[in-house]
Each structure stands twice: as structure tokens, then as C-alpha cells.
Amino acid sequence: MLNRTIAPPIKDAIEFNLELKPYQKWVLDNGTEVYAIDAGAEDVLQVEWVFYAGNWFEEQSLVAAATNYLLKNGTQSRNAFAINEHFEYYGAHLNRTAYNETATLSLHCLSKHAAELFPVVAEIIETSVFPEEELQLYKQNNKQRLAVSLKKSEFVANRLIDVYVYGIDHPYGKYSTEASYDALQREALVAFYQQFYQQRRCLIFVAGKLPSNLQQLLNAQFGARKVAAAPALPTHVATPAAAKNYRVENDKEGVQGSIRLARPFPNRHHSDFTKATILNNLFGGFFGSRLMNNIREDKGYTYGIYSYIQNHIHDTAWLVSTEAGRDVCEATIAEVYKEMERLRNEPVDKEELLLVKNYMLGSTLGDLDGPFHIIGRWKNIVLNGMKDDYFDKAVDAIKSVTAAELQELANRYLLADEFYELVVI
């Protein structure tokens, strides 16, 4: 008779060998660096062109985002419709995303179509024209979208907490307003495009089942244009708010509050960073965390609560984020502080520490499944200026971290007084 109360034996994940598949690196004729991962069974390809063209470089709010968005809305020889039709005919997606330091173009397609698609990406990078009418439509539609977003407490809360931590003038803290959309002018976009895309070297990250002639294809389309080195990053200094506590009413009839707690935190180069991510997991980083167990699974105050360290290249922040019932917001915050206190005062016991380690390593192993995830990890390492052994060191840190080290980190960082505290209803 099967005894169902006894768990089957397991292999602890700390015994697993986790390896991040190494990238291939090519340099195109004009110095453009290409990082490539050849893996996977499906004949698919993901290519990302990364430019140093995020809002870190703009002198006027939204110029970086608008330039990035409108890149594919017209070139010297095609209008927006023709560009979209070309990519869509081949079942491909050309997306663009503006971040803080960087801004990207990314292509997802079947590998067999790369040769038809690359020339149009090159055309966009070299000859985008930013038609006035496209800009007007962008302004109108984004102002409408913003009006809807501003009705959502979580959207408002996400903006405000960044302002408290970084200041409204810092690239990580600034946000869009109707006035900032109105102020956008075509000339500023064209100038930004020329300065940060057209004439600049980018980085290329490519992954999937790579066609054998991929290197030549890339070199033919992206290796010939004349480029200057990527621009140096200007300095932006954060100006954190003096006051720590905020309660904002956004909707009189709101039935939930968006709670955000945040403290400044150093970037990945700091020696505490890797082990702090482990402490973060224990605290609120996954479904089995202290915050989730207490505030969702014991009290039922929320559908979900998480803590995380923001994915920034420069100095960043450690956050707790949840939407909780309107009447239990203050009780939720009190419980978050209690969980910080427990982590400061009591070392985590062996069993829970092993669970967190095994979970983190197991999910890392699962996340190495497939070429897109692998290149994503390398991109993060490259763009953050980390060394190639960063992944191995992070895995070693998870395997070796002790309860005493985590308690020490909790005493250094999980201090209620150092957190900004915000509820938006």
C-alpha cells in the first residue's frame, strides 16, 4: 500500500550544474558588436538592436520615447502602412521599446524570412523621416491613453513612488503629462534620431535557430553604415523626497488601495546586490515568500504581494508592491514592517533557506530553457557592464549564502524608517 504522507526523495537543486550557454560574438565591418545564441528546435529568430537612446539622453521630456515609437512610421521610401505591411506579410513583428539608458528595435520572425526583413530594418535605422501627421496622431492617442491610465490607482502609484525615490527630473522618476505631449515638436525628434540612432553604433543581440549565413546577412545590412561610438552617459543625480509618508486619493469610490513601499538601493556592481536578491526572494520575491504567506495566504488582504529590486542600470530601489482592500491598507503596511522586523531579528531556519535556494535554482534552470531566455540573460550582463562570470557567481552565491549573511543584509536594508510609504486609493 502506497504511503502518500511520505514525499518521494528529491535531488536538491544546489547539486545541479547550471550553465549559461556561452554566446558567439561577431564584430561587423563598422565595429558593431553582435552577441548570438544558436539554440532551440523551432525555426524562429529574435533580433534586437540596442541603441543608447533612452530618456537618459533627452533634454525635453518624452522625446526619447516618441522618437523610438515613431521610428517605423515612415522612411524616405515607405510610409507607415507599407512598413507594417512588409513585416506582417512575413508573419513577423517589429517592436520598439524605449527604456532609460537604452532604446531598442526588436524583430521576431521565422528564420527563413530574415533576408527579406533585415533590409527594411536597416532602412528604418538609416532613413526614418518622422512625418508631422504621425506625430500629431501619436500625441492625440497617447494623451487619450494617459487619461485612462490616470484613473487607475496602480498607474498613479507607480509614477509617484519613483518620483519620491529619484526626483521628478531624474530619468527614472520623470513621467508623462498632457502638457509634455503637447510640447513635442518634430524637429526635436529628428535631431534626437540623427544624434542617437542614425549616426551611432548599436549593439545587436540575436537568438534562435540561426541561419548559416546570418553573419553575412547582418554585415551586409548593418555593417556598412558609418557610425560613431555609442555616446557617453551624462550624469543625473537623484533628488529623493524629504518626506517619507504619502496617502493620495485618486478615486473617491475606489475599493482598493495601491500600496508601494520603496527604499533606494545600489546597483548590480555593489557587493551586497546578489545576496540581497536572495533575501528579496525570501521576503517577497515569489509565491512562497513571507509577504505572500502572511498577507495573502493567511490574512486574505490581497490577490498578490511582491517585493523586488527595480531593474535599473544605475542606482536603483527596493520595492514592495500590492493592491489591497481599501479598509486593510494600513493593516497590510503594518504586516510588511513586521516581516522586515522578523528578518532582522531572527535568522531564517535551515528548511526555509533550503526551500528558497532550491526554488531559485530550479526556476533559473527552467528559465534557461530556450534561446530567447538565454540571450536575455546575456543582454542583461552586457548592458550592465558585468563580467562574463556574473551568472556563475550569482549561482554560487545562491548555493553558498548563509542565514547569518541574510540576517545581516536585512539589518542593513530592511529598515522601516528608510522606506517611502505610499497608498493611492
Binding site: L2, R4, T5, A7, P8, I10, K11, D12, A13, F16, G40, A41, E42, D43, V44, A80, F81, N84, E88, Y89, Y90, G91, H93, C109, L110, L137, Q140, N141, Q144, A147, V148, K151, K152, S153, D251, E253, G254, V255, Q256, F286, G288, R296, E297, D298, G300, T302, Y303, E323, A324, G325, L354, L355, N358, Y359, G362, S363, L365, L368, D369, F372
Partner: protein, 416 residues
């Protein structure tokens, strides 16, 4: 081509195995043949609430999550109007942990009072977060009630109203479990770095002695053909007027389903699609517009929804939509345009099949529809759709008598 093996245990549990040695992981996916459409109209939201309770401990194991995480695994679940699906992924060496956990909760839940009390609250917060505390969050409650008069797609999976969840009792929980959660009503898929003999042995060991249970025979009222247009106008505290039009379309296993899917792509599959180009770019009636459907098993709804540019009237906006959809019912689409949406489908299917987890849940879904191998026949079905099919099914769908329209007005005066 997705390869798989299939066998059935003596108790009726269907098991599929999909081996992929390129990953160090294994996935265990259990699908139960029950969704929100199987609920009592007075106790809606129950299938989804029940999904939460499945994590509240089983007969012999107090916690589902802890042992799985200790084995390096993660998991989640979802409930739709048609089905409930649970999946976990963990290092392949530890796959037996997943068999142990999943089989025990199929055998019997712990039926803990505390879990019911807490999860009722959690689901009520989920209800608030996703439906009440969001602008336009109540739209689908209204649209479903308007479009369906008798079919249980009348309510969303979260439930018709908060009170139904608030009043769920332990007797309801037990009744639901015994009716739906048993080998006769489940499909198990194991995928990743596994092989069939090993899965067979583990499936026998852990699931083999669970009583079969009674096969649930679904007998739902089918929605009669709609014979006249339906319209509803509401006002709400939102910044923009919005327009929603839904038309009945054929169910998942009918020929018209594939044509409807391609029609949604022709209308709104990207920046070169007809609705976007005509109504956002050229006529500037909408700031965004989308066309989609939910892939429902029974006859579903094809939806067009958009937010109006300030100053545009509902009448102008609605006329604009009809001016885009009517030509598809009348004229053949260009060969190139049809090829475009077929190419898009080919690429989407390839991207979908990249992860083992997604392949496992697709196999379970298709097996529920009748045969897992349907997964390998999908692309051919799309490829065989002709320009005539598109016109034929577009004419069938975009008939005003088949349409329900929701005019969602901003309370604040609109206009510049």
C-alpha cells in the same frame, strides 16, 4: 510536428507523454474538464474559486507549494469558461514530487475551513483588482449578459457578482470536488526530459488507485440564433467614450472558427490591418481599436472594441466600423492579404511551441477537444481557408441581427 504517446489508466485517466531531451526540466499538466460554464447560475465564480482551494492542502499533504518549491519547482493554474488547468515545472530528476502532489489532490482535498475563508477573501480582492477598480472593468459582465440569453457564457469566470463568492460554503466545495475532480474527468500530460515507460510506471503508482469517479456529462442550454440587434447604453466614470460590438461566431470545432480567426487578423492583426489603418490612421475616429475572440469551445463572440477620439460621436464611430466590416462580407479579400494572415498564423504557432510548458498545455487542450493530434493539424486547417470562405463566414458573422452593441459613455462631457 509535436510527437506524443498516449495511454489510459484502468480508472479512466488519460495520460499523454511528450518527450523533449533538450531541456533539463519536466512539466506535469493536469486539466480538469470543468469551467465556469458548468456552474450553477446562482453560484457563479465557483470553478475559479475552487482552483484557489486546490492549493490549500490535500488529504495527505498539508501544503502543495512548499514541497514543490523545495524540489526546485514552480506552478500555476488557470480557469476559463471551458476548463481548469494546473501545471508545474521542475527539474526532471524531481518529477516524482509532482506526481505525488497532483495525485493526492485528485484523490481528495483537505477541505480546510481556513483555506476557504482566506481564499474567498483573496478572490474577492482579485475581483476588485481586475474588474471593479479599473476603468471599463465591468464591460464584459454587461456584454456577456447582452449577447447570451441562456448559455452559461452569460457570466465571466470571476463570477457574476461578489456575493456569489462571499456565500460559497464548504458543502458547495465538497459537492463540486466530487462531481468534477476525478480521473474520469481529467487529462494528465507529462512533458520534457521524461520517457514513456517511466511516466507509465509513475502514473500507475500515484494515480492508479484513485477511484475513477463518474464521468461528467455536459448538457448545457445552447444559445438560440439571435434574430434582432441588441443595444445597451451605459454611463460611467471614465474619461473616454468607448464602443463595443460583438457578433456570435462558431465554436472551436467548427469550420467557421478558423475563418473567424483569420477575419480577426485581417481586421486588427497589426499596423497594416483594416480597422487600424482606416479608423485610427485615416479617419481618426478611434484612438485604439481591436478585434478579437476568446477561442471558446462552444459558439463564441467575435468582438470589435475601441475608444473614441474626443469629439467623435458614437454614431460616427459605429458607422466607421460598419464601413470597414461590410466590404469583407461582399468582396473577396486580396490573395496577398489572405496570405499575410496565414503567414502570421504560421509564425504564431511556431513561437507558441517554443516552451515545453506551452506544448504540454496545448496537448491537454486539444485532447479535451477530442484528440491531441489536432494540434498538428491546425496549420493545415488555416492554410485551407479560401477567399470564398472568408467572405462566406464574414457575411454570416457581420449581420446586424447577430450583433450586440454596448455604448459606453464617459460621464464627464466629451468633446474638445
Amino acid at each position: 510536428m509535436i510527437q506524443f504517446d498516449r495511454f489510459t489508466l484502468a480508472n479512466g485517466l488519460r495520460v499523454l507523454v511528450h518527450q523533449d531531451n533538450s531541456t533539463p526540466m519536466a512539466v506535469l499538466n493536469v486539466l480538469y474538464d470543468v469551467g465556469a460554464r458548468d456552474e450553477d447560475p446562482a453560484k457563479t465564480g465557483f470553478a475559479h474559486l475552487f482552483e484557489h482551494l486546490m492549493f490549500g492542502g490535500s488529504k495527505n499533504i498539508p501544503s502543495y507549494d512548499d514541497p514543490l518549491q523545495l524540489a526546485g519547482g514552480e506552478n500555476n493554474a488557470y480557469t476559463t469558461n471551458d476548463l481548469t488547468n494546473y501545471y508545474c515545472q521542475l527539474p526532471a530528476e524531481n518529477i516524482e514530487t509532482a506526481f505525488w502532489l497532483e495525485s493526492d489532490r485528485m484523490l481528495s482535498l483537505a477541505f480546510s475551513k481556513k483555506s476557504l475563508e482566506v481564499q474567498r477573501k483573496v478572490v474577492m480582492e482579485e475581483f476588485k483588482e481586475h474588474y471593479l477598480n479599473k476603468p471599463y472593468g465591468d464591460v464584459w459582465f454587461k456584454l456577456r449578459e447582452l449577447a447570451y440569453t441562456v448559455h452559461p457564457y452569460r457570466w465571466p469566470t470571476i463570477g457574476q457578482e461578489l456575493s456569489h463568492i462571499e456565500h460559497a460554503t464548504m458543502a458547495d466545495v465538497k459537492g463540486f470536488f466530487h462531481k468534477h475532480y476525478c480521473p474520469a474527468n481529467a487529462i494528465l500530460v507529462v512533458a520534457g526530459k521524461v520517457d514513456t515507460p517511466m511516466v507509465q510506471q509513475l502514473a500507475e503508482k500515484w494515480f492508479g488507485d484513485i477511484p475513477s469517479g463518474k464521468k461528467y456529462i455536459r448538457n448545457l442550454p445552447q444559445e438560440p440564433a439571435q434574430t434582432a440587434p441588441r443595444k445597451l447604453a451605459v454611463k460611467a466614470n471614465v474619461p473616454l467614450d468607448a464602443l463595443y460590438k460583438v457578433w456570435h461566431m462558431e465554436g472551436r470545432l467548427h469550420d467557421g472558427y478558423y475563418a473567424a480567426e483569420l477575419i480577426t487578423d485581417i481586421l486588427s492583426g497589426g499596423g497594416s490591418s483594416r480597422l487600424f489603418q482606416s479608423l485610427v490612421k485615416e479617419k481618426k475616429l478611434f484612438s485604439n481599436i481591436e478585434c478579437y475572440h476568446f477561442g471558446s469551445t462552444d459558439a463564441g463572440l467575435l468582438t470589435i472594441e475601441g475608444k473614441l477620439v474626443k469629439g467623435v460621436t458614437m454614431e460616427e464611430a459605429e458607422k466607421g466600423i460598419l464601413e470597414v466590416v461590410t466590404p469583407i462580407t461582399r468582396d473577396l479579400v486580396e490573395e496577398k492579404e489572405l496570405q499575410k494572415v496565414k503567414n502570421k498564423t504560421e509564425a504564431s504557432l511556431a513561437f507558441e511551441d517554443m516552451s515545453v510548458m506551452s506544448r504540454a498545455s496545448s496537448l491537454a487542450n486539444y485532447e479535451l477537444l477530442g484528440n491531441a493530434n489536432l494540434m498538428n493539424e491546425e496549420l493545415d486547417k488555416y492554410q485551407s481557408i479560401t477567399r470564398d470562405d472568408i467572405r462566406h463566414y464574414a457575411a454570416q458573422i457581420f449581420n446586424d441581427n447577430n450583433c450586440s452593441t454596448l455604448y459606453y459613455y464617459a460621464q464627464e462631457p466629451s468633446g474638445n
